[in-house]
Structure formats: structure tokens, C-alpha cells
Amino acid sequence: MAETALPSGAAARPVPAGAMAARLLSLVAVHAVLVAGAVFMLLPFVWMLITSVKPPAEIFTAQISLWPKNFYGVENYTFALSQAPLLRFALNGLILCFGILAVQLLVAIPCAYALAKLNFPGRNVVFVLVLLGLCIPVQVPAMPLYIALAELGLLNTYFSMMAPFFLSVFAIFLLRQFFRSFPDDIIHAARLDGVSEFEIVWRIVTPSAWPAIAAFSVFSAVAHWNDLYWPLIVISDAKMAPPPLGMMFFADAETGSNYGALTAAATVLTAPLVIAFLIARRRFIDGVTMTGVK
């Protein structure tokens, strides 16, 4: 098992045939485990894609086949797209993610900089509050926030979907860690050169934190594209629904057990993030590493 934990290890040692066979066997075992796991991971994706191009007759049969005899993809996707505003859902998701991320960064970056590099009264209190905020998931303040938004008549708006997430204590925490390692000398030099504190934050320190910001952006986008709980509470109008909620409406609606159309819709709504991941694979993985381990 940990055999593999040694990167180069003892590779092609001139070994007796028995040891060679054992090595080969362990290699086969390792790949067998990995492939079995990979099949489990991929099964839903593969099945989703296959089903989305199958005609109902082939879906509603007890026989499993990996490829449809009759290609029915066009019908399924057109049906899904015509029955539900899938593209609208995706657009809503996009607006939601960008809106939230923009405000999160605008608010968190100066605060993180102040916590990391400036001495001001109450700094420790602010930091303790940030740490406290880290422990409180959105489900906790959800009800008072809902009541407030309802009273203000703001339900079913983009604003209501975004508002609870404008402050990301996590972003403040992560960026503070990052800013702390920024050399003080550069900041002092900039001050001596007459650069204002505002410009120091946005033009000197922020660009240097690009990896952390990218990591957080990935983290934030994935979380909010896929979030169901809060949109489920504040959105009842299907036109405003982000992808998960839209999917839920669509699954509940007349489609019933039209699995061809359902999986077509699932494909459309899952695709943007998965494609983004496949393109920016390293970013996503580094993002998880940084946000998780820091």
C-alpha cells in the first residue's frame, strides 16, 4: 500500500523473477483498486450522459445497454430546454457567483490587509469575531435573514440570494494569512514613495496574493453554484432559480419520470462547472489544497 508512497523508490532493480512477479502483482492490485474506485466515481456521469441520449423505450427496459440503439439526444435536450429555462438557470448561477464573489473580495481584501498589516484599536476583537464567524454556517442566521428580506419585500431577487454571503469570514481569514507573509519593507518603501494606503492594498499587495484569491474564487464559485439551501428558502419564482433549485423545480414538474429529459437537464446544469474544472484543473486542486490546509 505505502509502497506507492515512495515516489521513485526502487524501480527497475535487477531482481529475481519471483520479486519481479510480486512487484507486477502489487502494481496490478493498486490499479485494480484505483480503477474500481474510479468506476464508482464516474458511474453517475457516464450514466447521465448515456441516458440523456436514449429514447424512452430504451430507458424503460430492464436491460442495460451502454449505448442507445436509436440516438435520441436531440429530442431529449430540446425537450429539456423547452420545458424549463435551463439556460436561464445557468445564467442565474453565473450572476449569483460573480455577484457574490465580487462583493466578497471587495469587502474581505481591505479587511484582511488591515488585520494583517495595520495596527488599529479593536483589531483583536475583529479577528476574534472573524474566527467566530468561521464556526457559523449560513443555516444558522437563515431564519432572521429570511424574515428581514421578506419584510423588506426583497424575496425572489438576486440580492436576497446573495446577501447572506457578501461577507466571507473565510476569505478574510485566508487572505490575512497570505498578507501576513507580504514583506513589510515593500509597504514601507511604498509609503515613503507617497503611495496611498488604498493604492498599496489594491495595486501592490492584492496582485501578490493572486494565488490565494484564485483559490478562494474557485472555492466560492463551486460553493454558490451548487448551493441549494438558501435559494430554496428565498426563491419561489422559477425564473430566478440558480441551477440546483432549477433542477429541483424541473424534476418536480410535469417531467415526472422522463429520465431522458431529466438527465439532459442534469447534464446542461452540471456541465459549466465540470468543464471549468477540466480546463483549470490545477487551479481547482491547488485551491482546495490552499483553502483546506492553510
Binding site: S8, A10, A11, A12, R13, P14, V15, P16, A19
Partner: protein, 396 residues
């Protein structure tokens, strides 16, 4: 205790050739140092001996036995790593005990929980503890046994790493730059300690370093490596006094040897700055050679006749470096390449010259080396019929 024999060891990483067929035979109980610039293949070679790396071709024998098919721990070698590679989560005691635990206990006795069922385990543990204590006493580590590596100083960590290597009574000690993470003072101290340890244990040491002083001070023999080849193998004094090539001459010795361009004149006489010296080599007239003069072979002032063949040239003092017990003097030479020479001087003789003054430098021709254009050292003989004093004007 064992001899180590390497037979045409070759190794490449991808397209880069790291070792190109190295042959080396190391005597039982010898302290052999592999020295060379970084990337010369010395570390790869020691890792192949340890079994951490597999050679592409060639074979390794320890104690006359081929070990190519053996895993590292079966080779009866111990290794001290540059980073010490101490297990950070274990106490010093456990660190030193690891090799013994692995060799003396069965898997069942080592597994967590399962080991509690073994009755003989306690007995073995006692034996291990005694051996660890003995090694710790040798290295003065007794009072540190319960600390973690992070709580130790660099020198203490170094000793723990040595202890972990010693505790298993290996036939061969392998050391990969073990002193390079220590500060200068401690390094000097550990050099002595290692040399004494070698004497006490009497086992074979193979030591890798890029520091020629370590190589010169501790070893019985030194193998100077470059670009995956052994350039010269010999006693430290041989490498210093009779370097096989320019590369060896340049690498061994501090300050670095002075290299001056020269040519071969009629009768094989070497000509420096256009004037013939007393030394002659077997090279066709007109070929370019390089003259290597150690910093201590130079002296200030006109040559003293009757002291063998000495040549002199003039130079201008650029800078004096005061090292306390001696001075290093840097001189500028004129000429097309406008190079310089370095010389070692006593404080008394250094006081005689002022910076940017012009002086005459003399050197003992018997102590200088002549290298051909390929960098090989040429045997030089006395080419003049009588003792001559050749005076050269290098500074116009």
C-alpha cells in the same frame, strides 16, 4: 567490515547521463571521500551503493558479495543524510531504535495493538534499549534521549543521525554531505569527531562532499568526480601535489591554483610571457599549455640563485586580504588576458608591499604544473643545462 567494489556503474535520468561507467574499489576500513562540484554524480553514486537508486548497468559488491538484488537494509550499510532525515515524531531514543526494531522484531511484534499480545516482545525491547543506551553513551546523547529532533541543535541532530547509523553495526557507513547543514565552526569540530569515529569503529566509510577541505582533512583516499567520471583517485596529498588535470588542480586547494597561459618553445621548453622557463615537456613546439602555480609556491622578491630553478615576473598588488595568521595577496598581471594571480604570504612579507605597487614575484618551477590543451598534466623535466634564473617582464 567490508570492502566495496563498483564495476562500471552507469546511470542516466532520462536523457541526462549522470554516471558514465564508474569503477572503484574501496578497501576494508578505508575512509574514502567522493568529492566534486554539485551535479557531478557523487550523490547518485552513494545512493546506488545504498540501494536507494538502481544503476542502469554495472554492479556493486559489498564484502565481495554482489548486492544488486538486495534491498537497502539487506546490504548491511548505514547512511547519514544531508538533512539527517530523523523521524520528526519520534524521540531520540526511538529514532535510534528504529533499525533494531525492524531487524529484531517480527511484523506481529511491531504492529500496533497486535504487538501487545506478544510475550517475547518485552525481552527484545530490553535488548534494544541497552544497545541504544550504549550508542547514546558513545555519542554523549544520554541526556537527550527523550527529546524530539525539533528540540535539538544542528550538531545534536547530526549525532543522533550518526547514532541511528551506528546502532546496527553496519559494514559500511555512507554519508551524504553530512556536515553541510552545520555552521562553519561546528563543521570544523565535527570533522575531527567523524575522523575519530572512523578510527574507533574501523569500518569502511564512504563520504560524499562538495567541500575539498573535508575531503582533504578526513580521508584515506579521495575520489574527485566530475560529470559522472572519477577524474583522479588517490591520497589527499597526491591530489594536491600531483593533480591529474586542471579540473582537479582547480578544485583542490584554497585559494585556487593560479593558472597562466604559456606556450611550448624549442626543445620542449615552456615559455611564460614569451620567455623560456627551465622546465621542458614532451609536446611539439608551438602548442599552448597552461601553467599551474599554487599560491604558496609564489614569493615576493628576486629569485635567490642556487635554490633550484626559479622564475620571476612582475605584477601589481591589487588587494591584500588579512586572514590573521597569513595574508592572501591579489596581484594584477598585464598582458592580453589581463589576468591575476593570488599568493599566500606571511604577515611579515605582506607588510613589505603596498597596494597598487609593482613587485617582482618568484616561483619555484619544481612546484608548478604544466597542463596540455586538453587539461591533462604533463610530466615536466628540467630542460636547461644549468640553473638559470629567468626573469620575465610581465608588467610593462
Amino acid at each position: 567490515m567490508a570492502t566495496v567494489g563498483l564495476q562500471s556503474i552507469a546511470k542516466s535520468f532520462g536523457a541526462t547521463k549522470v554516471l558514465g561507467g564508474v569503477d572503484l574499489s574501496i578497501a576494508d576500513g578505508e575512509f574514502l571521500t567522493l568529492v566534486g562540484p554539485s551535479g557531478c554524480g557523487k550523490s547518485t553514486l552513494i545512493r546506488i551503493i545504498a540501494g536507494l537508486e538502481t544503476q542502469d548497468s554495472g554492479s556493486v559488491a559489498i564484502g565481495g558479495l554482489g548486492v544488486d538484488h538486495m534491498r537497502p537494509h539487506e546490504r548491511r550499510v548505514a547512511m547519514v543524510f544531508q538533512s539527517y532525515a530523523l523521524y520528526p515524531h519520534m524521540s531520540v531514543r526511538s529514532n535510534i531504535a528504529v533499525p533494531l526494531t525492524m531487524s529484531r522484531m517480527t511484523m506481529r511484534q511491531r504492529l500496533p495493538l497486535v504487538r501487545l499480545m506478544s510475550r517475547s516482545r518485552r525481552e527484545i525491547m530490553r535488548g534494544i534499549d541497552a544497545d541504544v543506551a550504549a550508542v547514546a553513551a558513545q555519542l554523549q546523547l544520554e541526556h537527550l534521549l527523550d527529546r524530539r529532533p525539533a528540540q535539538l541543535s544542528g550538531g545534536q541532530r547530526q549525532r543522533v543521525a550518526l547514532g541511528r547509523a551506528m546502532v546496527r553495526n553496519p559494514d559500511v557507513f555512507l554519508m551524504d554531505e553530512p556536515l553541510s547543514n552545520l555552521d562553519a565552526k561546528l563543521r570544523v569540530h565535527m570533522r575531527t569527531e567523524l575522523a575519530e569515529l572512523h578510527k574507533r569503529l574501523g569500518v569502511t566509510f564512504i563520504y560524499v562532499t562538495h567541500d575539498q577541505i573535508e575531503a582533504m582533512t578526513m580521508s584515506d583516499r579521495v575520489a574527485m568526480m566530475d560529470a559522472g567520471e572519477i577524474l583522479q583517485l588517490g591520497k589527499p596529498s597526491e591530489l594536491y601535489d600531483l593533480p591529474a588535470s586542471i579540473k582537479v588542480a582547480q578544485f583542490i586547494g584554497s585559494p585556487a591554483i593560479n593558472l597562466l597561459p604559456a606556450t611550448v618553445g624549442p626543445g620542449g621548453r615552456v615559455e611564460l610571457f614569451g620567455r623560456p622557463l627551465a622546465r621542458a615537456v614532451e609536446e611539439p613546439a608551438g602548442s599552448a599549455v597552461t601553467l599551474g602555480i599554487r599560491a604558496e609556491a609564489l614569493s615576493i622578491g628576486q629569485a635567490d640563485p642556487g635554490h633550484g630553478a626559479r622564475a620571476s615576473f612582475s605584477a601589481r598588488l591589487r588587494r591584500k586580504e588579512n586572514l590573521g595568521s597569513e595574508f592572501i595577496l591579489h596581484f594584477d598581471l598585464a598582458g592580453p588576458d589581463a589576468s591575476g594571480v593570488t599568493m599566500r604570504a606571511t604577515p611579515a612579507s605582506a607588510a613589505l608591499v603596498q597596494e597598487s605597487s609593482e613587485v617582482t614575484l618568484t616561483f619555484d618551477e619544481g612546484l608548478c604544473h604544466v597542463f596540455n590543451s586538453a587539461g591533462r598534466r604533463l610530466e615536466a623535466r628540467d630542460g636547461s643545462s644549468r640553473n638559470t634564473i629567468v626573469s620575465l617582464k610581465a608588467w610593462p
